[in-house]
């Protein structure tokens, strides 16, 4: 991270719009991805995440809007950019009936690698992603976690500067998920920028910056911490034997935005300007005994739920 190139952006998206007939899948989307960052792209199912990625990879033409990657216009100059971007789709679009080694060779060749260069690239990818032992296996025989690593290897055969990952970790266990993120960190250290879509808010927290989109529109955009601060809330978790009564009482207090059960405790959302101690004192006054944790920032889950609820109210 850091370095003198900070200011320049790798990918700049401006007013990107895609309509399918009457349906607007993506509407006036603008954001940028900076060098050597992991940029998280979040949103509920059907929010337009995959559509956006497909447009940015040149698989789908936008209805209107502009996008520049690595100094080239993505839509008019696509051929120049393709050699320098990579894409891994939701479905791990490897060829099932080819072996891992054949898949890597195939995609490497499509990116213009040949002979020794191709062999070196395959060996390097296999080493980095620990897939050497799978080389002779048919892709159809691999587990989801293995497919995911082979997919990442295939889509980075040509060492792209900008990598698009569409829900790369859906359907894999937490351990594999963590290994995958470590692999992504290695790629970033190597100078790559990554745009990744995910449903997992734990993963979103690990991103350098985030964009929340809903119904094709940008709802929130920035560093995870800044987004949480911008929500203007504090969260206090309290544990108590009488957690149900506590929840009921807390919900009645005018300063409490929401009170949710969490195991044998309650999670209270308060406006940032409210005094948590005053709220807690009030609850103690009701004869409820509990031990509070110190107030903290809301989680991305809180933000996600708030955005979804806000958009429902509007609708």
């Amino acid at each position: 991270m850091g370095g003198p190139v900070m200011a320049e952006s790798i990918l700049e998206v401006e007013n990107l719009t895609k309509r399918f007939g009457d349906f607007t899948a993506v509407k006036d989307l603008s954001f940028e991805v900076r060098p050597e960052e992991i940029f998280g792209f979040l949103g509920p199912n059907g929010a337009g995440k995959s559509t956006t990625i497909k447009m940015l990879c040149g698989v789908l033409m936008p209805t209107s809007g502009k996008a520049q990657a690595l100094g080239h216009d993505l839509f008019t100059d696509a051929e120049k950019v393709r050699q320098r971007i990579g894409y891994m789709s939701q479905k791990f679009s490897l060829l099932d009936d080819l072996t891992v080694g054949e898949n890597l060779a195939y995609f490497g060749q499509l990116y213009g690698l040949e002979g020794e260069k191709l062999k070196d690239a395959i060996a390097q990818r296999e080493r980095e992603l620990q897939i050497k032992p799978l080389e002779q296996l048919l892709v159809a025989k691999l587990s989801t976690g293995e497919k995911q690593r082979v997919s990442l290897a295939a889509s980075t055969m040509h060492r792209p500067r900008m990598l698009f990952l569409d829900e790369p970790t859906s359907g894999v266990d937490p351990l594999r998920r963590r290994l995958f993120w470590e692999a992504m960190d290695d790629l970033v250290l190597d100078g790559m920028s990554i745009l990744v879509t995910t449903h997992n808010l734990g993963e979103a927290d690990q991103c350098d910056r985030l964009a929340f989109i809903m119904a094709g529109q940008l709802m929130a955009y920035g560093r995870p911490r800044a987004l949480k601060e911008d929500m203007g809330r504090r969260v206090v978790e309290v544990r108590s034997e009488r957690f149900r009564e506590l929840q009921r009482e807390a919900a009645l207090h005018p300063d409490v935005i929401s009170a949710e059960l969490m195991g044998r405790g309650v999670r209270l959302s308060l406006p940032a300007q409210a005094n948590p101690e005053a709220v807690l004192a009030h609850l103690r006054g009701q004869g409820l005994a509990f031990e509070p944790k110190s107030p903290e920032l809301p989680s991305l889950e809180d933000l996600f739920i708030k955005l979804v609820q806000d958009s429902r109210k509007e609708a």
Binding site: V59, E79, R82, L94, L98, F107, L110
Partner: protein, 374 residues
């Protein structure tokens, strides 16, 4: 550019090598079909024949002898009643019966008109037609001979037959079925490969989403397209070669004309049928749909292409459809080159019609591809 196309073609062959079922189908369908159609005989010689001879004379035996000599009738034996004739024909054990009444020889000797009855099982019209015309010919010949004898001509002074009608079946002197069927079979099998394969393999990639992964690479649409069609063109030529070699070796069907011209005109046909396959792939949503649509194409191809049934005997709307489908023209080209040994001076008109079809089908196929990409 060529490196990427090579990679795409190489991948298609790897996939094909793993797909044992398809591989077997590509090789065995032609072998299977050529074997069936090659041995298929609509030759009606050696019909099972029975005789009811109530005349029991030299004259009746002479007539049976003359019938057998044509090789169309194989006398299986004699029966003793009309009921037996009915029984054997009913059971399908005999197809033809010859019946001489008791006075057959007496009438002949006395200078009168002797009657003989030939019964034919006409449930198969082709068989019956041939049997009747051959039997009629034998009867006429015998009558003429006997008439000369009655008019008292000796062997030396016998008058000449006024008309000596000689028939020469050109291009296929022995009237063998394989010579006629195999050129058509090549056309049908090649078109099956081109249509089904192109449609199925493109739709399969659409279904699995593997096309998206390729579209983000620097591969250009034209390269992707060539990578898809080159292997299919290769397969079509391989099948055609297998069929023609087999036809020569196993069925003794030689190629009378230029092999180069044959392969060159096959290219036009392959491109035309690929267009049909690509067009189907832009419409079909699933592999099942693609194969149903391809299958729909085959009925008109088989029935209206002059492949087995002569098109000139059909009502005019069918003749129009026949003109419009490429298989008809390729079958004509094949027969012209393989059987008649003629060249460009004859086939150019069919080649031109194939070109017209190519222009038409590829225009709509490309439109379909553009719509699918948008």
């Amino acid at each position: 550019m060529w490196n990427r196309i090579r990679a795409l073609v190489w991948k298609e062959f790897l996939q094909l090598r793993r797909d044992k079922l398809t591989l077997v189908m590509i090789l065995f369908i032609p072998l299977f079909q050529i074997t069936i159609y090659g041995f298929l005989n609509n030759d009606v010689k050696h019909l099972h024949t029975i005789v009811l001879d109530e005349s029991r004379s030299q004259e009746s035996r002479d007539f049976v002898q003359a019938m057998s000599a044509t090789q169309y009738f194989d006398v299986q034996g004699e029966v003793s009643s009309e009921a037996q004739i009915r029984d054997l024909i009913d059971k399908g054990k005999a197809e033809v019966a010859i019946w001489f009444p008791p006075d057959y020889a007496r009438e002949l000797r006395g200078g009168g008109t002797a009657q003989a009855l030939v019964i034919v099982d006409a449930s198969n019209a082709t068989v019956a037609g041939t049997a009747m015309s051959v039997a009629f010919g034998v009867g006429q010949t015998r009558s003429t001979q006997i008439m000369f004898d009655r008019m008292g001509y000796g062997q030396a002074t016998k008058p000449k037959t006024p008309i000596d009608l000689r028939i020469r079946p050109w291009y296929n002197p022995n009237l063998r079925t394989p010579n006629f069927i195999i050129p058509g079979l090549v056309a049908i099998i090649v078109s099956m490969t081109c249509v089904m394969f192109a449609a199925a393999s493109i739709v399969k990639e659409k279904e699995r989403g593997t096309l998206d992964q390729v579209m983000v690479t620097p591969v250009r649409p034209l390269e992707l397209f060539l990578g898809k069609v080159i292997p299919i063109i290769g397969m079509a030529y391989a099948q055609m070669t297998v069929l023609l070699v087999l036809a020569r070796v196993a069925f003794n069907v030689p190629i009378a004309g230029s092999i180069l011209l044959l392969y060159a005109s096959a290219f036009l046909f392959i491109v035309a049928m690929l267009g049909v396959g690509v067009r189907i792939s832009t419409v079909a949503q699933s592999q099942a749909q693609a194969s149903q649509m391809s299958f729909m194409m085959f009925l008109p191809m088989v029935f209206l292409s002059d492949y087995i049934f002569p098109i000139h005997g059909m009502p005019w709307p069918f003749q129009v459809i026949s003109e419009l489908i490429p298989v008809t023209h390729f079958i004509r080209i094949m027969r012209a080159i393989v059987m008649r040994g003629v060249g460009l001076e004859v086939i150019w008109i069919h080649a031109a019609k194939l070109l017209l079809f190519i222009a038409f089908i590829w225009t709509i196929a490309v439109k379909g591809m553009k719509r699918a990409a948008a």
